[in-house]
Symmetry: C2
Subunit: 413 residues, 2 copies
């Protein structure tokens, strides 16, 4: 189908979804979960085609793992959908309101965003996760996944569309772009008037492409060049636990730490302690000259190392002369995701909280907590690193907008 | 100065402004107002240069009027700045917070947006209005006005910069782009990493250009193709007052009505009443065939008339068979600004409220109320017609973002 036509159908479905009640939306989610279980064989067969093709094309094994579905993964998709049912529906929530002098009653009320474009890579589970979150918040979605996962995405979206139809809701509340060329993706990113927002989900390159190309408003997600700063007044044992956790508990995610900053006054004592803990995970250290003089195993860091989200067992390390220098370093290199200070000094903590411009600022805790689940949002569509609309973990409420309802009895101005 | 360097200075100033307290910001606003009064001669002299040049270039007189400053206009700028002082500072307001099971204390708190780019046309008052609103909310601004107003904008920004310096705040919290070519504007719209958001202020063409060109997140403002729908259950006398007010009280603004929709059941009675009221302002009517058959003075409407924001004494008029048809028409042509229904029927009002996707939805009132002042925001930077971040009138709070502060005592995940 022509992309414009597909988009218009999704837009029309968005209007229906916006007027659909919570119970009906939950019934559809429940049916989607049920059908994911019932039609597992069909989904896995489609996925086998994708995997076979990827193997034939010599795709690297970590990417094949991302692409692969199995019984367990499909079940966990279904469970994630069922978890959404229990979450409160943000639509219709009254944010505030007042009566004006002239008698007009103004109510600011949550409404769905509308038609949401999701652009993602080769993980087929994003199809269901993202679509069902959008549906719960009363939106319709237009999905565009990577070409490697086309058969899987097609099967999954058919299952969701069928479930919607069975519940009397428009199948087009879940649309899938099946032309996976770049031209079609670029066209989708410029569908102003049809799509209300675009959410790219994937690596830095995908996100940059969307930001560069889109004229539809974009929510930037996911890039995390996160720092842990160990102040001179830090509890050093706590600081070791925090940097070890922030770097090694799951290095491939956006809330993992990429750079360690250490105050000069504690560097000689702290760096060997940290290095010992990190050695267990064979973390490669790339240090500034002072770091290298203290830790013989550290390689010299280049300018690029301060800028890089390694997503790997690599840590850049820099010794700084002061809290000011730490703040200046973070201001320069941070992607605005999660930043942590370890300190026992109240004034240092207060300055860090006020002066660091990131979605999440931590005092004496690991950056790894920046996550919708951990923050109690119940579910997460992504972690915003921009300041417009939403910042940090985005749950159902961040998939809504608001509207002013103004009720009168003939008021004119 | 090189645009990148200018941008970086504004960004650095934004960090200082973010950490500046309310009292200090208010002191700077007060000083700006005072200096606008004290240095009026200098401002008016600069403005005379702009006006003279525009006259020499044969610029049309409505545009010269927009460009022109006089004593009264400078004073009213100063008064607008002083009004900001009394408004509550949104920065630091705690939105919500909780303690997690693991003891982490999470606080979601309002912070400034950061560095805001304002792109506007030939009204020099925007320079001061927009800049001071941004400053009050703890932001820094990079201003880029039309080339016709360059001397005026330069004088006004010097006054503001001097006032900031006198108050110990960074002058670069107000930056002015003095290269007024399109290339520089385009470059400004792509300053990701330096500017956090762009707000274009001006006509539809300017806004479209910014949306098309920008990679920095944009807040779309101002286009209003607003409708008034007169239902079959309307109080027709009230409906006449509302359409007359919505069309003629100030046709050049975005919350003025552009299309009147009338239910067929009341069209024969209502249209002549409405036409009579509108005749006093010589409103040109462009009607559908049914309208033209009822009102001999109406010209036939074209497809373009349904799409056009006339901003003039012109009204498109269409007779519809049902509320459904009215909703469908609005869904198709609305710019998502302000939409009104006039009805005494509860079910019709409820459906209109639920199904119309606009920033402000009115029941039995004029669309002209969509305005920061009327809505009680105290001041307004523009009216957002997009759904991301802010919708409808944007005041100080809409010039902020939020941040999560997470405080612990060694928590790891």
């Amino acid at each position: 189908m022509d992309l414009q036509e597909l988009g218009r159908r999704v837009k029309d479905a968005a209007a229906v979804m916006a007027a659909t009640g919570t119970a009906e939306k939950n019934r559809a989610l429940s049916r989607i979960a049920q059908e994911l279980r019932n039609r597992q064989a069909e989904i896995l067969a489609a996925n086998r085609k994708d995997v076979k093709k990827a193997e034939e094309n010599g795709v690297a094994s970590p990417m094949i793992d991302r692409l692969l579905l199995n019984e367990e993964r499909v079940l966990s998709m279904a469970e994630a959908v069922e978890k959404l049912i229990g979450l409160p529906d943000p639509v219709g929530r009254v944010i505030e309101g007042r009566r004006l002098e002239n008698g007009l009653q103004i109510t600011k009320i949550r409404v769905p965003l509308g038609a949401i474009g999701i652009i993602f890579e080769s993980r087929p589970n994003v199809t269901v996760d993202a679509a069902t979150l959008c549906l719960k918040a009363g939106n319709a979605v237009l999905l565009r996944g990577g070409k490697e996962a086309l058969e899987s995405n097609r099967a999954l979206s058919i299952v969701m569309r069928d479930a919607l139809t069975e519940c009397g809701l428009p199948a087009d509340a879940v649309g899938l772009v099946t032309d996976t060329d770049h031209e079609t993706a670029a066209q989708m990113m410029r569908m102003n008037g049809i799509l209300d927002v675009l959410i790219p989900r994937g690596g830095g390159r995908l996100i940059r492409t969307v930001v560069e190309t889109a004229t539809v408003p974009v929510i930037e997600t996911g890039t995390g060049n996160c720092h842990v700063y160990v102040d001179k007044a830090a509890d050093l044992a706590m600081a070791v636990r925090i940097i070890d956790n922030a770097k090694t508990s799951r290095p491939s995610v956006c809330n993992a730490a990429e750079t360690l900053l250490v105050h000069r006054a504690v560097a000689k004592e702290f760096l060997p302690m940290a290095a010992e803990a990190l050695r267990a995970h064979r973390v490669e250290l790339r240090g500034c000259p002072v770091t290298c003089s203290i830790l013989p195993e550290a390689k010299p860091a280049t300018e690029a190392d301060w800028e890089t989200e390694f997503l790997d067992y690599i840590l850049a390390v820099r010794v700084v002369d002061s809290l000011d220098e730490a703040i200046a370093h973070i201001r320069r290199y941070s992607s605005g995701h999660s930043e942590a200070i370890v300190t026992g000094d109240l004034a240092a903590a207060e300055r860090f909280k006020r002066e660091i411009d990131a979605a999440a600022v931590y005092v004496n805790a690991s950056t790894r907590f920046t996550d919708g689940g951990e923050f109690g949002l119940g579910a997460e569509i992504g972690i915003s690193t921009q300041k417009l609309h939403a910042r940090g973990p985005m749950g159902l409420e961040e998939l809504t907008s608001y509207q002013y309802i103004v009720e009168g009895n003939g008021q004119i101005r």
